[in-house]
């Protein structure tokens, strides 16, 4: 059995061994103590040549129901948006995807300039001054933003609300707990944050308040009120935002955010079972040197030509080691590139149209569901793209019937809010621009027919 990715021939191996001055390749492993040498072959399945590999892996893919097979009304952090085919063609160029991190800038101007453009676009969307080159995802970006605020302010407490994505709060809790930082989660019985709950908690000990806009339930949070309250306090304001919503919603810089993060998947990245995606992170100029992760900067060569390099590297692990702003090394450059290409293709009017359709289609759907007997919209605050409705029967039953009609229904809220018994029949529906009138009408018809 040969291997297409191993390029040495047997004759060459012998030549090389001779050049090294050993008789067999085993001699090159003689420094591994016999006590730890593997005495048997690894117990792995027999190797598959390419055509059989394709057949096998395709059979695994075929056992999944996809968002092309069924109409999906799931959101909750990963969104089914339309992705221009050009995104895949351009990000699929192997000069991009087979490259390493651009430490040798002169041969990496392609990705470096693309990342500089990405950073610029994130700043244009959010209104902030500086962005980094990406984080792993929205959840870890939020956790790192919280740690950044802790490092800047010295506060040992971080505050958030129940209306922030429960899984993001779970990741936050894991990251903060290991550093002994307190996470306070304030209740949101009305689905949105009540800024008054914050007032007694502001001060030096509180490093940051974290809000999501729109929040997990699709509702708009009182971000201006929170921003105004925090403007007069040492506590920092971290906003986690949906990037496409920024075509319609006020940029976080305008309502006083100090650090902005979010999940970049809606920008040109497929749902992919939740990964890989990218997290974006941006901040004010004064906090530039406290940002984690890579950052690309502009410079010149000796002849005066413009070029781009990784910069402010003294923040990072390979230089500062334990005093680095984070341990992050590999991030999500290719996914950020896909996001950049998406934004370039959509442009201001395309992005606004996507956001507008998400807003309008979700409202259209919500109104029609709420009009069905036994169903009601759970919250009264304005919403974008997602909304929670209370079903007249168990959500699992609703979804089982929807599935039989090739519809993937909304996320049962009790999965995420097990302690809120008053939400236990709640379903979080998401309607993006990708949902057609036919799909929405089919959803309503099936829900109408539920007994």
């Amino acid at each position: 059995m040969g291997y297409p990715y191993l390029s040495l021939t047997e004759a060459e191996r012998q030549e090389m061994l001779a050049a090294i001055g050993v008789g067999t390749v085993e001699e090159l492993f003689s420094d591994i103590p016999p006590a730890v040498r593997l005495q048997k072959e690894l117990d792995l399945p027999e190797p598959l040549p390419e055509s059989q590999l394709i057949r096998h892996v395709q059979s695994l893919a075929a056992r999944n129901v996809t968002l092309d097979d069924y109409a999906s009304f799931l959101g909750a952090g990963i969104y089914d948006h339309l992705i221009p085919r050009a995104v895949y063609h351009l990000a699929g160029r192997s000069e991009f995807y087979t490259a390493y991190t651009p430490y040798q800038a002169e041969v990496s101007q392609g990705i470096l300039q693309a990342i500089f453009e990405y950073q610029s676009l994130i700043c244009l969307l959010t209104g902030m001054d500086v962005a980094n080159a990406s984080m792993y995802d929205g959840a870890t970006a939020l956790a790192e933003a919280a740690l950044m605020a802790v490092n800047i302010t010295g506060g040992r407490r971080v505050i958030t609300f129940e209306s922030l994505h429960p899984d993001y709060r779970a990741v936050l809790a894991t990251y903060l707990k290991t550093r002994g930082i307190e996470l306070v989660t304030l209740p949101t019985p009305a689905g949105v944050a009540n800024p008054e709950f914050l007032r007694p908690l502001l001060g030096r000990e509180t490093a940051a308040v974290l809000l999501q806009q729109p929040n997990f339930l699709g509702l708009l949070e009182p971000v201006s009120d929170v921003g105004a309250m925090l403007a007069k306090s040492p506590t920092m304001f971290v906003a986690s935002v949906d990037p496409i919503s920024l075509a319609l919603l006020q940029p976080p810089a305008d309502y006083g955010a100090d650090i902005v993060v979010g999940e970049g998947q809606p920008l040109g990245n497929p749902p992919a079972l939740g990964g890989p995606t990218f997290g974006f992170m941006a901040t004010r100029e004064k906090y530039m040197r406290r940002l984690p992760g890579r950052i690309v900067g502009e410079t010149r060569d000796a002849a005066g030509n413009r070029g781009f390099v990784l910069t402010l590297q003294t923040r990072e692990q390979h230089i500062r080691r334990e005093r680095a702003t984070s341990n992050i090394c590999t991030n999500a450059a290719l996914n950020a590139l896909m996001g950049t290409i998406y934004l370039a293709l959509l442009g201001p009017h395309g992005l606004t149209e996507v956001a507008t359709q998400c807003l309008q289609k979700s409202h259209y759907t919500a109104e029609r569901i709420a009009a069905l007997p036994g169903w009601k919209l759970m919250f009264s605050a304005p919403f974008y793209q997602e909304f929670a409705v209370q079903a007249p029967v168990a959500p699992e039953k609703v979804n089982a019937i929807l599935l039989a009609h090739k519809i993937i229904g909304g996320l049962p809220l009790r999965k995420m809010y097990p302690h809120r018994s008053e939400w236990e029949n709640g379903l979080l529906f998401c309607v993006t621009e990708a949902r057609t009138a036919e799909e929405i009408d089919r959803l309503i018809r099936v829900l109408e027919g539920l007994k």
Binding site: Y5, L6, T9, R13, M16, V25, E27, L28, F29, S30, I32, V36, E41, D43, P45, P47, L48, L53, I54, V57, A62, R63, T66, I78, H89, Y97, T98, G110, I111, S120, L124, Y136, G138, A139, T140, L147, Y175, T178, L246, P270, L273, P276, V296, T299, D301, A302, F308, R321, N327, L346, L351, T352, T356, H363, Y364, P382, N399, P412, T436, A437
Partner: protein, 537 residues
């Protein structure tokens, strides 16, 4: 000299996206709105709305395609040429894996879909976990970490949880060799540990005497890469393991260098309790210009209870199971009486019993450290790694390590006459040279690296590890031909000769790249980190 001048004259900036375009251009159009629509102003109150139009450039599809195609032609990847970056394992990225990872049956999946609708994906994850555990010599694994560094903090949190569970919360020190990758101490700090550095001995391994002195009641664990960052196998690994375990600490294996040991030894057999693998290094998934990666960690039996949630499990199908099985702690609690005991199924990778099995996410793990990432990890990266392991098999992976180690030793022998070799012993998959000799002629490792770019070869890793002066770390990997290796030797020999005969020339390298040597100091002193719209007067 003529050649060099012409390259500079030909230079053209590629304008930034924001400098391109024209009002009215657009690169993508949606289907028209097909349901009744209320005006935006009726749906979003004014205080939440953006006042202006989002300030993005207006480009047509051809604008965008030419722009990024042009940028790609100014980028060097493994598909372009040799990329001997030590510690990065820049092996060839198989094309079939790109196609498999692009299958809609994988890309078009929502993470919160009912488990019954993602059985193929869950099977792939479960099997990849089993494959990695066999390679690691350990019990269970989590695929959730998004990169090696992410795996490190996950592993360190497991160590913390393990000791806390035993009431040993004053174990707050992590021992790390002075030669370690920067992510190791950075990760330890992120997890609230103190970093204690252990020195290397003259053979380049961990000094056992130093280690004995540093371990004690406060030792939570030791982080080690084996082979280490010098490309040398820790010959005293058994003793190291005994010393740390005897002191009550755990052993963490940084798997960045696993390409050297596949099928030869396993971290679990060496005594490690936790191992992270870099799928984007050892398991051929592409580096993407800086990610995405994937850093799964495998653990020993004692640490399994602390793994992040969810864990992918498998059980035999029950006859009358509801078609919609949704995860989440509340649902599981309400339906526990229906499930068969988890983890009790004995899985055989050589057979395909999947028709009788169902895979599911297990959140019922009371001692888990919690979630460390949104969703389940970098699934499309997992697809590629799974495909690679299934294509290579045991014999293939062993050949990978043998060829990687052979190629590295070959280069080391061939280059030793021209560059200092601080550790003159058999190396594993990478080795470190020192540019000390060249420094005496006024030429630094940085200059050598930049000159390599002129020959169309990516420079090796420079100035790492920190324990070697003017370090040059070279890792050829197993996917290169002998001809490529020989060409590299010839180029390095030429450069060594240039150092002797025209050292000044090297200080101005590179000459044949799209830009000359970029001023990194200026970039840091006067940071320009984004485009700004010109202010029109």
């Amino acid at each position: 000299m003529e050649e060099e001048k012409n390259d500079k004259q030909k230079h053209q900036d590629i304008p930034l996206l924001m400098e391109l375009g024209a009002p009215g251009r657009r690169g993508y159009y949606l289907p028209a709105m097909d349901v009744e629509a209320s005006p935006v102003a009726d749906l979003i109150p004014q205080q939440y709305r953006r006042e202006d139009t989002v300030p993005l450039p207006e480009l047509s599809e051809i604008d965008v395609v030419r722009h990024f195609t042009g940028l790609s032609r100014r980028n060097y990847g493994v598909d372009v040429g040799f990329y001997p970056l030590g510690s990065c394992t820049m092996k060839y990225n198989p094309k079939v894996n790109e196609d498999l990872a692009a299958l809609p049956g994988f890309t078009r999946l929502h993470p919160y879909q009912p488990e019954a609708t993602i059985q193929g994906a869950l099977q792939l994850m479960y099997e990849l976990e089993k494959l990695l555990c066999e390679l690691a010599g350990l019990e269970r694994a989590t695929l959730a970490p998004a990169a090696g560094a992410h795996g490190e903090i996950t592993g360190l949190m497991l160590i913390k949880a393990y000791h806390a569970d035993r009431g040993e919360t004053d174990r707050d020190e992590i021992i790390i060799p002075d030669s370690a990758h920067g992510t190791n101490p950075a990760s330890a700090h992120m997890c609230g540990f103190k970093v204690v550095e252990v020195a290397s001995n003259e053979r380049g391994g961990v000094s056992l005497d130093s280690l004995r002195q540093l371990t004690g009641r406060k030792t939570a664990g030791l982080m080690l890469t084996n082979p280490n960052t010098l490309g040398l196998f820790e010959e005293d690994i058994v003793a190291i393991s005994e010393i740390v375990h005897a002191a009550g600490g755990l052993l963490y294996y940084d798997g960045a260098n696993a390409n050297a040991i596949l099928g030869k030894t396993r971290p679990g057999d060496m005594g490690f309790d936790i191992v992270h693998f870099n799928l984007h290094k050892t398991f051929s998934t592409p580096h993407g210009g800086g990610g995405p990666g994937s850093g799964p960690i495998a653990v020993s039996k004692e640490l399994v209870p602390y793994l992040p949630v969810p864990v992918v499990e498998v059980r035999k199908k029950k006859e009358q199971r509801t078609p919609v099985a949704e995860g989440g702690p509340a649902f599981q609690a309400n339906n526990r009486e229906e499930s068969a005991p988890s983890g009790s199924y004995c899985y055989d990778l050589h057979k395909d019993d999947s028709a009788d099995l169902e895979y599911y996410f297990d959140y019922d793990r009371p001692r888990s450290i919690g979630k460390i990432k949104g969703f389940y990890g970098n699934f499309l990266v997992m697809v590629r790694a799974y495909a690679y392991i299934r294509q290579m098999g045991a014999a293939g992976l062993k050949q990978v390590s043998e060829d990687a180690v052979l190629a590295a030793n070959y280069l080391m022998r061939k280059l030793a006459p021209y560059y200092d070799l601080p550790y003159n012993r058999i190396c594993k998959h990478e080795f470190v040279l020192s540019g000390r000799r060249q420094k005496e002629r006024g030429v630094r490792t940085l200059d050598i690296a930049k000159r390599l770019l002129d020959y169309g070869i990516h420079a090796p890793t420079i100035y790492f590890p920190l324990v070697v002066e003017e370090a040059l770390m070279i890792e050829p990997t197993e996917t290169e031909t002998k001809a490529t290796l020989d060409e590299f030797v010839a180029v390095m020999r030429s450069i060594a000769r240039e150092v002797e005969q025209e050292p000044e020339k090297l200080k101005g390298a590179p000459y044949h790249t799209v830009v000359g040597r970029l001023d990194e100091a200026k970039a840091a002193r006067h940071p320009v980190l984004r485009w700004r719209a010109p202010i029109s007067g």
